[in-house]
Amino acid sequence: GAGVSQTPSNKVTEKGKYVELRCDPISGHTALYWYRQSLGQGPEFLIYFQGTGAADDSGLPNDRFFAVRPEGSVSTLKIQRTERGDSAVYLCASSLGLGGSTDTQYFGPGTRLTVL
């Protein structure tokens, strides 16, 4: 079946604008994760959902960042008043469940966000 998909693949915006990044997880996967990856760094955890609820949002850098998953499938990461420092690749991953072998994370191709 299809893997994790993310749209758009690239997003260029101006400082101060609002952006939304979308993630479609693998069908049937209950857990969904957002990461941010800067050049030369590992994925940095932002938030993860179990179903519709955010189980841990401790990685969101500040209150300009917000993520939702209203129906327990598709998720949207929202960034308000973008800053140049927000430029990075935003990765989404999903897993079948949590714990044991079910929490293998499958990553999407990412959205490359550039804030001018």
Binding site: E44, Y48, D56, S58, T104, Q105, F107
Partner: protein, 113 residues
């Protein structure tokens, strides 16, 4: 907070040489996962280790989890050009019900044919 360190940051080898990357966590882990990211690609899951002292093999790749469950290593025997990429370890903190993964910064492997 939890920190996961990886060394070396870069490794360049001749094709056929061996390669090892090491991962250390500041806290005891419930499990550790390894991912490979090709240039321009996204992380792809390789393996998960759960038990203290566990060793797993995938063809030329050998993964180890330390006895104290705070460190891990990935060893590649006789590297090939297809092994090029960045290898990340990612650890889940022991205890509790939080399934957050903390990634290391990765080791970039380049292979000279």
């Amino acid at each position: 907070g939890q920190q996961v360190m990886q060394i070396p940051q870069y490794q360049h080898v001749q094709e056929g040489e061996d390669f090892t990357t090491y991962c250390n966590s500041s806290t005891t882990l419930s499990n550790i996962q390894w991912y490979k990211q090709r240039p321009g690609g996204h992380p792809v899951f390789l393996i998960q280790l759960v038990k203290s002292g566990e060793v797993k093999k995938q063809k030329r790749l050998t993964f180890q989890f330390g006895e104290a469950k705070k460190n891990s290593s990935l060893h590649i025997t006789a590297t090939q050009t297809t092994d090029v990429g960045t290898y990340f370890c990612a650890g889940r903190r022991s205890g509790g019900s939080n399934y957050k993964l903390t990634f290391g910064k990765g080791t970039l492997l380049t292979v000279n044919p």
